[in-house]
Amino acid sequence: MAASAIGVRRIAGGNLISAKPFISNDSKYIICAVFRNVFVYSTETGEIVRKLFGHENEVIAICENFRNKFQVVTVDSAGFIFIWNYEDGMAVKRITTNIEDVCFAHCHPSLPSLFFVGCKTNKAQVAVALEVQWELNGNVSVKDLYLKHVSQSGVCFAIDHKGQYLLYVKHEAFTIVERASNRCYWFERTCYGKRLESFVCIAAHPSQAVAATGCKNGRIYLWYYDSVSKPVSTCFHWHTSISDLCFTAEGGFLLSGGIEGVLVRWRPDTARKELRPRLGGPIQWVHSSKDNTLYATCHLENCIQLLNTSFTVKQIIAEFTLPYLSKQRRRILNTVGLHYDPVTGAVLTNGKPGHVQFYQPRTRKMLFNLDIVCQNFISPSDEDLVYTELSLVALSADGRWLATVEQRNDGVTTLEHRLKFWGFNDVKQEFELNTKVVSPHDQSVTQVRFRPIGATTDDAPMVVTCSADGTFKAWRLEGDATKQRWLCAHRAYFRSDMAATDCDMAEDGSLLAVIYGNFIAFWAVPQCVFKTYLAEPCQHAFSQVCFGRTRARHLLVTASSNAVHIWNLLTFTPVAQLLLSITHLAANPWSHEIALVTKRNLLAVLDPCLGQVVVTLPNPPSTSAVMAVMFYPRHEQRHSSSPELGWLNRAKLMVLDQRGSLHAVDEKFEQDEGDDDAAPAWSTMTRRMPENPIMNALLHPVRKRGAGLDADDDERVKSRHDAARKKLLDEMLATPAHCLPAMRTLCDFFLSAMLSTKSAQKDTTLSLSDTREEDDDDAARTALHREEDADDVDLEHPDESAIDVSAMDTTTAPPALDTSFVSKEYLQSLLDLQLVL
C-alpha cells in the first residue's frame, strides 16, 4: 500500500517558549527548547548555531551547570537530566532520575548539585516539590521537601540568594520555607482591604533577602524578608496582569512583563520605572543575561526578542507565529488558509492579529508579518475585545498581487469590512497597499480568488469576490504603469435571495463557477457572461468547488455536506460521486490530484480522472483538527519510488492544524530537511567534524556499559556493531593516507577493531538480516539510545573521558565488544540505506 510509504512530519509551529530560555554567561548564545529539542541561537545573528537532540520528552527547564560555566543542564518531563556542552553542541551526560511528570525544575548557584523539581499530582494545578541531588557519575538521590501544594507553574517557585530558603506563591499565599528546618512562613496581602491578592509569579533577588511577587491584577509586591517571620512588603503597580518577573544579574533592576507586551524595568528601591512598549504580543517570560547586557522577552506569538539595556531590540528569534489571540479567547482561529508565495517560496497564513505571516518552510524561517489591518493592537483585558480580523487572503499566481479581506463584527454595530489590494514593490521588496475598498459588498465577503494567468490573450490581473449578499464582483487592475489601481469591472448575481458562498476559476481563466446553495452557476470571464448552472442531485447545499488542473481540466470537483461530486464540464453531467463529508479541498496546481480533508480529520488524495481516492492517510497528522491544506512545490522535481506517489513528484502537501503547527505529507524516506518529530538522535561532535568514520570512531571512546540493558538488546546491538565495524574497517582501508590521523593514534584502535569474539562473528550475518527484516528501525534506535548511557565526554573530567582503549582487550574485558565504535548517525544512515536498497 502506498500510504505506508507516506509520512507526516511537523515542519513548523513548535512552541519556542515552552521553557524559559537561557542566555549563556558571555551573552553569545541563547538556548531555547522547542518541545524535546534544544536549540542554541546566536544572539548576534539570530541563527541556530547548534541543535541539541537527545530528549525524548518535552524539555521543562534549561539551567546553567554551575560546576562548569560552559555547560547547560536541561531537564525533561520524564525526569531525565542532560548536560550539554553548548559551545560545540555535544552531550556530556545523561542522568536518569526516577521522577515522572516533572513540571518545573530550578537550580541555584550555591547548590550546584541540587535541583528543586515539581512533580504533577493528580490534583489540578498542584505539584509536589522534590529536591534532587545529582552527581556526574550518575548517582541521584531524591528527597521529599514535604511541600505538597506547590503550583505547577515554574514561575511560582524560587530559591533565595543564599540557597537557604525556598520561596513560592500559590493562589493567595506567599510562602517562605526554611530548607534546614522545613519551617514554613506564609503571608497574604489584601488589595484595598477587600480581596486577597492572587499571586502568579515570583522572583528572588540575586544578592539580598528580597523577593518580588506578581499578582493576577498586575501588582508587584517586593518582600524584604530579613526577618523571615515579619517581612516588609512594598507594592508597585503598572500592569493589568503580570506573567513573569526577573531581577537583573546584580539585582539593581526588576524586569516585569505581562499581557500588554510592555517590558517594565523597575528600580526596586525608589519604585521608579521605565517602560518599553510595543514589543508585540503578550509577554510570557522575561529573562536577563548574566552580564547585564541583554534582556530577553518571550512572547506568546512564538518569538523571543533580545533587547539591550537601552531597550533597543537587538535581535528577534521567531518561529512560526502562533495564534495567541485565539488562545486568550479560547476560540477557533479564523484561518485564511494556506497560500504559496512564489516570490519568496513562503507559505502565507494568519500571523499576529491582523497580520499575514510569510513562513519559509525550506529554511524554516519566519520571514515577516505583513500588517494588513494597520490598527494599533489593544491588549485584551477582562472584557472580550472584538478585533478587526483577517478573513480572506488570495495571492496571484505570480506572487505580484495580494488581495486581503478584513472584517470586524461585534454583533452590535454594523459590519466593518474592507478589501485591500497589495502590490509587490520590486525595489523595496515588500508588499505595498495599492487599493483599499471599504465595504466592497453589502454583506460579508465569503471568497476571494485571483484569476489564473491562463492561455487567453487578456492577461490583466483580475480578482473575483463573492459575498453573502448574493452577488459576485470582478475587480480589474486599471491604469498605466505609473499609476495602477483596482476597480470593480463587473457585478453579477445568479439568485439574489441566495448567498454566494464559494467560487473558483478554471485553470485557463475562462470560466468562473460560483456556489449558490445547491446550485453552481457558471460565467465566462473576463466578460462575465452567464453560461449555465448545475444543481446538486440531493438538494444538499454545496460547500466548496474546485476546477481540475492539468490532465483533469475538463472536470469540476464539488463538495456538499455529505458527498463529493466530480462533474464533466464538457457534458455537464456527474462523472462520479463519493460519499464523503469533507471540510477542506485543495487542488494541486502542478498535477491533477486534489487533496481532501474529511470531517473525521483524515487526509485523502483524490484523482478526479479515476474518480476515486488514490491515497488515504490513516493517521491524522496530529490530534487537533486540520485547519487548512495546500500543495507546496518542491524546489527540484523528483521521481517517486512508486507510481501511486506520482502526485508527490512536483509538490508535497502541507497541513496546518488547529494548534498552529505546519505539517508536511511526504514520502517517508526523505530525511534531507530535518525532522522535528524524528526520534531523538544522540548528538555528537560529528556534526561539526568532517564526516569521516575515523573521526567518529575517535570521538566515541570505548566505555564500560551501564547496567540495566537486557540480554536481548545486548545481542542486537552487538551484532549490529560488528557489522558496522566491518564496514568501517573497509572504509578506513579505502581512505587516502593523507586524510588519516597519525598512525600512532590509530594503531591500537585499528588492531583492536580487527579482534572479535567468536560469538559475534557467528552472529554477524544473521543479525544483519534480522535487522533488515524489521521494517521499522525503532528497535534499533532504542537500543542505540540506551547505549548512550555510557557515553560521556566531559572536558573537565579527563579521567572519565579518556579514551579507554585498553578496555578493548578481549582477554581483560570481554563485554567491551558491545561498545560502539561508530557514530550512531553514521550507523543510522547505513541502516537507512540498507532499508532503501
Binding site: R189, T190, Y192, G193, K194, L222, Y224, D226, S227, P231, V232, S233, T234, C235, D269, T270, A271
Partner: protein, 658 residues
C-alpha cells in the same frame, strides 16, 4: 415593612469649603480626638464612642487655629494671633489665652513627659512653656533663627528637639539651649525654597522629615546625615506620623496618597517604602496615630481610619452628627446653618395619586423658602428648634422657632399665611428673656403657649442628677409634655417630671454615650440609641427595660454592630408604633419589633427573609430623617457629588484610560 411617601430633600445647603480639616490631635489618655477646621472651629470626637462628635467649640474671629496639642488631657490651640488658648479638660470651654512672644504661632507640641510645651513662631524663635498644676508659664525662649518655625518635634527622651524651617532642619539640645546640628535641604530650583512641613524623632535618634519638594527623608539624628530619602509624593508632603515603636512612618500631603514606610534589614536601619493608600480625593492636611490605626483628614472633609492590622479602612464623614434639621407639621422644616436658620415649606404631591414603589410623585407645589434668620453678630448657632404649628385667627398659622448661640437664646413666633397674596410671613422676637435663660446646647418645644401678652418666664429649672461633668447633649420631651429625658456625655440618661421639675428615674448605666432618643407617642416608653449601635427601650413607669428590649438585648446581628456611622435619628413610626425608624449617615433602617432578629453572626443582611431589619442604602449622606404626618417621611440628603463639586480643585492625577 411600611410604605412611606418620602420627601427627598436635596436642597440642604451644607458648605464643605470652610470645613477643611487642618489639624488632628489625639490624646490616648482620655481617648479624645481634637480637630480644627478651616473656619477655626475645634471639634472633640470621642474614640471610644464609635467616633462620636461630642462637642464643637465655635470659632472666634480673632483666633485662628494653626496648631493643636494635648498636654495632661488639656487641649491647647494656637494660631496666627500669637495666643495660646487653653481649654477646660472636661467641658472644653476656653479657660484662658496666653500670649507668646515671637508673633504668629505655626506649631505647638508638648513634650513626651507632658510638662513642657514648645511653640514655634513666625519670628523664628522657639518658646518653651511650663505646664504645671493646670497653668502654663513661660519658661524660656531658644535662640532666634532667621526663618519661621514651621514644624517641631521632641525627641522621645525630651532632651533634644528638632525644628523644621525654610531649607533647614535644626536639632537643639535643650540642656544647652543651643543648636547642635543643622541640616540643609536641597532646593529643587534656586528660587523655590524647600519648606520642611513636618519633622519627627524616633527612639533610636532617627529624624524623619517631610518637605515641599515631595520627599520623605530619614536622617541620622546624631550626625545629620541622610540615611534614605524617597520621592514618595508628587507634591508637597504636609504631614507625617510615626508609630510608638518608631518602626512605621506614614506621610501624606497635597498628593493625597498616604505612604507607609517601614524599617527592614537585620539591623533595622534601612527604610523601605511599603504601601501607598489613596482614599482621599483632596489634600491630606493631618495624620494622627490612634489605637487601631492611622487617622487622616484634610480638605475633602472626610476622616479615614486606616487600620494597621487588616489593611482595611473606615470612612468617617466629617459631617455634623447632631441634628441640624427639625420638622414640624404642615410640612414646615427648619434648617440650621452655621450662622443662620432657614424655614422651608416642603412641596406637596398631586393629591393622593398612587405611583409604583420607587417612582417619583408629581409635585403640585414646589418647596419654598419662607424665612431666613441670620444670627446676631454672625455668631455660630449651637442648636435650634421649631414647635408644632397651630392655626391662628382669622387665617394662617403660628409657629415658634428658637435658636441658641454660644452667648444667647432667641425665641421667635412667626405668623404664616401662605394663602394670602402676597404670602404673609410675620416674624416677632420674644423680648425680655429672663436672666436665667442661659444659652442652650439642646432645645425642644413641648407645648403651645397662647400668643397674647407674651412674657417669657422661666417655668422651672431642673438640676440634672447626676450632674454631668461634661454636660448634656440630648433632650427629648413626651408628646403630652409631662416628662422629659436628658442624655449626657457621661453615658447617663435620666427621665424627669416636667411639672415638678424632679427626677423620675435614671436608666442603668451603659458603657457608651447615647446618640439619639425618643419617647413613645402614647405609652410610657423611651427608646435610646447608643453609640455602640444598641437600641434600648425603657419603661419609665415600671422603671425597667421593656419586654422587647430584654428579649433582643445582646442579639443584634454583626452587620448591625460593625463599622456603622453613629445613629442620628431614632423615631417611632407614627403609622405603626411597633416599628422604629433609624438613620445614620448612610443607612435608613426600619426596625420591626414584632419580627425576629437574624442570627448574631450574620455579616450581611438577608433581603429575602422577613427580618426585623429593613435597610435602605439608596440615600447617600443622610443628614436627617424624620417621620411627618400621614405616613410621610422627610429625608434630607447631602449628596456626595454635590459635596465634591463644592470642594476646591485637587492635585491633578493621571487616571488610566481617561
Amino acid at each position: 415593612m411600611g410604605d412611606f411617601r418620602v420627601h427627598r430633600v436635596k436642597f440642604y445647603n451644607y458648605d464643605p469649603t470652610s470645613k477643611a480639616i487642618n489639624n488632628l490631635a489625639y490624646s490616648s489618655s482620655n481617648a479624645r480626638l481634637a480637630l480644627s477646621r478651616s473656619d477655626n472651629s475645634i471639634e472633640i470626637w470621642s474614640c471610644k464612642d464609635n467616633w462620636l462628635l461630642e462637642q464643637t467649640i465655635p470659632s472666634e474671629p480673632e483666633h485662628t487655629v494653626e496648631a493643636l496639642t494635648w498636654c495632661q488631657d488639656v487641649l491647647f490651640s494656637a494660631g496666627l494671633s500669637g495666643f495660646i488658648n487653653q481649654f477646660h479638660h472636661e467641658n472644653f470651654k476656653k479657660i484662658r489665652s496666653f500670649p507668646c512672644d515671637g508673633g504668629s504661632i505655626w506649631c505647638l507640641n508638648s513634650s513626651h513627659d507632658q510638662t513642657l510645651i514648645a511653640v514655634g513662631t513666625e519670628g523664628g524663635s522657639v518658646s518653651l512653656l511650663d505646664f504645671l498644676e493646670g497653668t502654663i508659664k513661660f519658661n524660656c525662649s531658644l535662640a532666634r533663627q532667621k526663618h519661621r518655625i514651621i514644624s517641631l518635634a521632641w525627641h522621645p527622651n525630651d532632651e533634644r528637639m528638632a525644628t523644621g524651617t525654610i531649607d533647614n532642619i535644626l536639632i537643639w539640645s535643650l540642656s544647652q539651649k543651643c543648636v547642635v546640628q543643622s541640616i540643609s535641604l536641597p532646593r529643587e530650583s534656586p528660587n523655590k525654597e524647600t519648606i520642611v512641613w513636618g519633622v519627627r524623632f524616633t527612639k533610636d535618634n532617627t529624624l524623619i522629615s517631610v518637605d515641599s519638594s515631595g520627599y520623605t527623608s530619614f536622617w541620622d539624628g546624631k550626625f545629620g546625615t541622610l540615611l534614605k530619602n524617597f520621592r514618595s509624593h508628587k507634591a508637597d508632603v504636609l504631614c507625617l506620623c510615626v508609630d510608638e515603636e518608631g518602626n512605621r512612618v506614614w506621610s501624606s500631603g497635597v498628593d493625597p496618597a498616604i505612604v507607609r514606610f517601614e524599617r527592614s534589614g537585620s539591623d533595622k536601619k534601612s527604610w523601605k517604602q511599603v504601601r501607598s493608600i489613596a482614599h482621599h480625593t483632596h489634600d491630606v492636611r493631618s495624620l494622627a496615630l490612634v489605637p487601631d490605626g492611622i487617622l487622616s483628614a484634610g480638605v475633602d472633609n472626610v476622616l479615614i481610619l486606616n487600620r494597621n492590622k487588616s489593611d482595611s479602612y473606615r470612612k468617617l464623614l466629617g459631617f455634623p452628627q447632631q441634628n441640624l434639621i427639625h420638622a414640624s407639621n404642615e410640612n414646615l422644616v427648619l434648617f440650621q446653618y452655621n450662622a443662620a436658620i432657614e424655614l422651608w415649606k416642603l412641596g406637596t404631591a398631586v393629591a393622593k395619586e398612587t405611583v409604583p414603589p420607587g417612582d417619583c410623585f408629581q409635585l403640585e407645589s414646589d418647596p419654598r423658602l419662607l424665612l431666613k434668620l441670620q444670627a446676631a453678630d454672625e455668631q455660630s448657632i449651637v442648636c435650634s428648634a421649631i414647635s408644632q404649628s397651630k392655626a391662628a385667627e382669622p387665617s394662617g398659622s403660628i409657629v415658634w422657632v428658637a435658636y441658641s448661640s454660644a452667648d444667647e437664646l432667641a425665641i421667635f413666633w412667626i405668623v404664616l399665611d401662605l394663602q394670602s397674596v402676597p404670602p404673609l410671613v410675620d416674624v416677632h422676637q420674644v423680648t425680655g428673656m429672663p436672666e436665667e435663660a442661659l444659652p442652650a446646647v439642646s432645645l425642644v418645644f413641648s407645648q403651645m403657649w397662647e400668643m397674647d401678652n407674651i412674657r417669657p418666664r422661666l417655668v422651672c429649672s431642673v438640676p440634672l442628677d447626676p450632674a454631668p461633668t461634661q454636660g448634656a447633649h440630648l433632650l427629648s420631651v413626651t408628646h403630652d409634655g409631662k416628662h422629659f429625658a436628658v442624655g449626657d456625655h457621661d453615658n447617663n440618661v435620666s427621665i424627669y417630671r416636667l411639672k415638678k421639675g424632679r427626677i423620675l428615674c435614671t436608666l442603668p448605666s451603659h458603657s457608651c454615650q447615647p446618640v439619639a432618643m425618643c419617647f413613645h407617642p402614647t405609652e410610657a416608653l423611651l427608646a435610646i440609641a447608643y453609640s455602640d449601635q444598641q437600641i434600648v427601650e425603657f419603661d419609665y413607669h415600671n422603671c425597667s427595660f421593656s419586654e422587647w428590649c430584654r428579649r433582643v438585648s445582646g442579639h443584634f446581628p454583626k452587620f448591625w454592630l460593625n463599622d456603622r456611622p453613629n445613629i442620628h435619628s431614632l423615631y417611632y413610626n407614627p403609622g405603626n408604633v411597633q416599628q422604629f425608624i433609624i438613620a445614620n449617615h448612610q443607612h435608613l433602617t426600619l426596625l420591626d419589633k414584632t419580627e425576629d432578629f437574624p442570627p448574631p453572626q450574620m455579616k450581611q443582611p438577608d433581603d429575602d427573609k422577613p427580618e426585623a431589619f429593613h435597610t435602605v442604602s439608596r440615600y447617600q449622606y443622610l443628614a436627617h430623617v424624620e417621620p411627618l404626618e400621614e405616613n410621610e417621611l422627610l429625608v434630607v440628603e447631602v449628596q456626595p457629588a454635590s459635596l465634591f463639586s463644592k470642594l476646591p480643585p485637587a492635585l491633578p492625577q493621571k487616571k488610566f484610560g481617561v
